[in-house]
Symmetry: C2
Subunit: 637 residues, 2 copies
């Protein structure tokens, strides 16, 4: 169980953020900060010419070139340009306020678990802009506009053998002449590790180079707008996937797609969701949508098919075959996404019908494929996905958890936005609730992480039993009989945004039990398939759609997570979006996606009898086999 990687590593501690990251010896300090989610300004994108990325080395050694951007005096005091410094020992680095004006690139949860991040990558986005000042044509040099452009691109920026998107030709002549032969071209790495010229603009537009990344889930779509010049996130958003009106899970979506115009409706629904989000993100970041140069998305296989307009019919018919796992670059406007015509969509590759690009993206972002540690990766969403493995091998499976953890199938369920009840406890004597909500707003509903916390606390305090049934003998009128059986009132209408009581019903609890049982049976079956036990896991990385966090203890109490030492758990937030974001920042990582997809072995659980046995055994809180959860002591016993 020891890390067997013999490469030399150093720990860098950043102040005042108080964040550590472990990196390889001689790594670039700027990139270490980006990976750690510590923001340092770098107006020039790391070229060393702007002098905005100054840091103070408080302890340890860096190898650094002094440029005229740092005075002799400051240099002696330890000031260095982060982009010009290589890490030669453990370090303590202070980032002065002047270098810290912008938002962090990684979210708080990701920072907390920054040791669970892909390493060894360079900040080198697959989309580039290059500014060219071309020599105007003359009688003795009247080659074509395109030849002149490509020659300038080679001479001034070193890009050779660039392929040309024919769409750029239509305005080429006028654009070249608009700003006196000064232009900015956009280049996109295509599948062959070579570049394609996808856009041309008059003048110098390098300062505007943005990418959108999306995690397209069955229930919710999450997106971020990124500035590719500075590796920072400008805005992020979440919205329900409008396909929900055509069914809550992937199976019902596939069924819908087979109806007359079904495919078209489903595609339009998710595209409308994305288009609204793009407008919103651009508005909040105060950028023009036309300056977005690229889109990266990660989605499960069904969502990937539906977004691109591919019929998912065969995904649900044995032997469950996707149309394509590795998708060629597709023009975004072909799908109906409203961005510039030059923008291509990059899809994280899928593995199988129920193991999609979202999970590949999570493995990519968390770097599991790079490490020796035997890791269980869990992506908790409507389509629950599991991976077990390390740098040498990986097995994967999908178990349909249902939309429970995104608030679906729960009477007052909702996605993790403002007003969702997340924190919960019960007074052991009065059985009165203690709730906290996202943004401390008036309660509006229950999100996935809230549901886990509520379930665990109600169980622990004896309000429900291990079958998920209410103890109706307790003296609190919050436990009452509703229209469809017993329920517990979390908040009365007088206190809520909806002016209605927010309750948790026995049906909700039954759904929670089914969902957590499916997840647990999934890990169990996958482990058994490789002849391992839970205790062999050196690391459990939890990704998913929860709000701020997941309470590990509570998740174990209800049997959603295995009962192993708590320090082996890491929560990385939305792993799919993390991987998509890192793919947008790094060509290396983008190209690793395919490698990850090809090294995964998929186990089909839907026809697996062991999985069914494990599932039935898990339909109890925490489990029918108490030996599986030795440390869970209900009621403080």
């Amino acid at each position: 169980m020891t890390e067997e990687n013999t490469e030399i590593k150093y720990t860098v501690h950043f102040e005042p953020d108080n964040i550590d990251i472990v990196v390889s010896a001689e790594a670039n300090l700027m990139e270490a900060a980006v990976a750690a989610g510590v923001h340092i300004n770098a107006s020039c994108g790391g070229a060393g010419v702007c002098g905005t990325c100054n840091v103070i080395i408080k302890r340890g050694q860096v190898e650094s070139t002094r440029t005229d951007k740092i005075s002799e005096h400051d240099y002696k005091k330890g000031f260095r340009q982060a982009c010009k410094s290589r890490i030669m020992s453990n370090l303590i680095v202070e980032i002065p306020a002047t270098s810290k004006l912008e938002k962090a690139v990684l979210s708080r949860e990701e920072l907390l678990s920054s040791c669970a991040l892909a390493s060894g990558w360079k900040f080198d986005p697959p989309v580039k802009k290059a500014y060219l000042e071309l020599t105007p044509p003359a009688m003795e040099d009247n080659t074509s506009d395109l030849s002149r452009l490509l020659k300038g691109l080679k001479q001034q920026s070193g890009y050779d053998k660039v392929s040309v998107d024919s769409d750029i030709l239509y305005e080429l002549a006028d654009i070249l002449r608009k700003d006196d032969w000064s232009v900015t071209v956009t280049l996109l790495e295509d599948s062959n590790n070579s570049f394609k010229l996808i856009n041309i603009e008059p003048g110098d537009t390098r300062a505007k180079n943005y990418t959108l990344v999306f995690d397209i889930g069955t229930t919710a779509v999450r997106g971020q707008l990124l500035d590719l010049n500075r590796g920072r996130m400008l805005a992020q958003g979440i919205d329900y996937n409008r396909q929900i009106s055509y069914g809550e899970d992937v199976i019902s979506r596939i069924a819908w797609a087979q109806k007359q115009d079904g495919m078209e409706k489903l595609q339009k629904a998710v595209v409308a969701t994305i288009n609204d989000m793009i407008k919103n993100l651009a508005k909040r970041a105060n950028i023009d949508i036309s300056d977005i140069a690229h889109i990266v998305f990660a989605a499960n296989t069904v969502m990937t098919h539906l977004l691109l307009g591919l019929n998912p019919k065969y995904l649900r018919l044995s032997p469950y075959v996707p149309t394509a796992n590795y998708l060629p670059l597709i023009k975004a406007h072909k799908t109906g996404i409203e961005v510039a015509d030059s923008v291509y969509l990059y899809s994280l590759p899928c593995v199988a019908s129920y193991v999609g690009g979202d999970i590949v993206s999570g493995i990519l972002g968390t770097g599991i494929y790079q490490k020796d540690k035997l890791t269980l990766y869990i992506d908790i969403g409507t389509n629950g996905e599991i991976v077990i493995g390390n740098r040498d091998w990986m097995v994967t499976a999908a178990c349909s958890a249902g939309p429970t953890f995104e608030g679906g199938g729960i009477k007052h369920g909702m996605i993790a936005t403002s007003g969702a009840i997340e924190g919960f406890d019960v007074d052991a004597r009065t059985y009165e609730p203690l709730i906290t909500t996202i943004d401390n707003a008036k309660p509006k509903g229950i999100c996935g992480s809230g549901l886990i916390n509520i379930g665990a606390k109600l169980l622990d305090k004896g309000v429900i039993d291990q079958n998920g049934k209410f103890n109706t003998g307790l003296l609190n009128r919050r436990i009452r009989e509703g229209a469809h059986g017993f329920e517990y009132v979390l908040a009365y209408g007088a206190e809520t945004q909806t002016y209605k009581d927010i309750v948790l019903t026995e049906t909700d609890i039954a759904n929670l039990i089914r969902s957590k049982a499916a997840m647990y049976a999934g890990y169990q079956t996958l482990l058994q398939s490789v002849d391992k036990k839970f205790i062999n896991l050196e690391q459990v990385i939890i990704a998913g759609t929860f709000g701020n966090n997941i309470n590990i203890e509570n998740a174990i109490t209800i049997g959603l997570l295995p009962d192993i030492p708590r320090n082996r758990f890491l929560f990385v937030g939305n792993g799919s979006l993390l991987g998509a974001r890192l793919s947008a920042f790094s060509r290396d990582l983008l190209n690793e996606g395919r490698k990850i997809s090809s090294m995964m072995t998929n186990l089909e659980l839907s026809e697996n009898s062991l999985f069914m046995d494990n599932y039935i055994a898990a339909l109890f809180l925490p489990h029918t086999d108490g030996g599986e959860f030795p440390s869970v002591r209900l009621g403080g016993k």
Copy 2:
């Protein structure tokens, strides 16, 4: 002036066609026949398995494998499979009637000058079809449809690293399952010498693999439909370019393009012409338009821009810059051409604003770039183009001859179709005409080659003088004064298709003189630029839009062609279409187009004062300087 190429060459004589071709030692006999335009059946496309390409070696040696397709008896008699035979000496080859059922691939004029053909190329079209029988998916092998297809393509046909056109994905799943996992894929060589998967069809459709080639001229569009399996031409056609209603020459088209909706109208006009021709060609060849896999076109730079929807604005403004000379592959349907969505347009590369892909195509087809002989290549059309050079260097120029040689600006001019007056003589005593027409139909008008013949004979017999004015003292009422000056009646209304008199006017003759003067001044100026004289030319290849042929003697008499030994002239018919056709048959040649374009040095005549002097000196029949045409003796003197 001797051929310095030391490679061993053999002459192959084909009977009963009575055609010779010079080829490299060890060349494939089938390919030699295709290059010579001699048709031999080959149902299997040259794989040696059908036995339909049997020929008889009457003299000389081939190296050939005997398969069971030829009996021992026949083998002893000299029968060989052409596709399995390599040429080891000079040969006399007889093609039995059983192997000669189909139309020849090269036209009569091309055959007559088959020594003026590119050599050394393989029959290896840039578009291929491959038939695959894939293993159906199973639970233990449920990779995606696309991965299965690409794996099968690699294993069964050897194509690796194939890129995928994303448009094929939409129907992929259903097509694979339609004929039990048997499919035919279409592959197109893309710009990097690698292949792109552009189409997929259920079952085995290899037998249907067609290409269209077009020469898109300012006045006329010429097209051919080719069968890529057998290297044969199935149908050909000619039609007026409907852009004519927007001006007769390229300059007026460029002007039109600057008007409101001008570009769109011009593009639609040429595309409508092409679409009608495609329907007609497919109908006559009895094939489905949906089985056309590829389109190759050659056109002058302005026509290339207008077809693709690129504004030609800067082509007529000094320093005369095209948007692009080397054009990326463009989907045909993007231009409005009505073929399958999978079809790409390949454009022969252009050189400069007035030296286009048509001329590059002609140089390619005639192989001038491969040979030592100092050659003058003349493409006589509305936009007259000239090349002088050999394998080491080439200079080129365009001189706006006007539409005269395509019948434009001539009162009763027409393109070279049925009813055009082509052959002409005048009775020296009565001045009565002797005319012949294309297809021996009733006269309808005068085509370009007819105009040359008429001009020469009227001059020779003294009906017009060297200024192009009628000798009104002659006693024949065919010489009369019309509404706009003197004219000569070629045919009276009673004999014509139009029921109107067909005449040649003095204005027509003035236009002829201007056009021939522009051409002649063009060659002269270009030769002077490289310090050569007409007598240094070892070969003059004439391409153009004439009907069956051009009468060299008559062309010299009026001063259109230089007065050098007649055996140095070769007429290759439509050189542009020839090169386009060979590009459709051979990847090698298709890739040579770019090389040719880049080795050409363009001389701009429009701002050249020497050209203007030469032009003015040539405004006489045959020339103001009689010393330029020593052998021309008018009136038999």
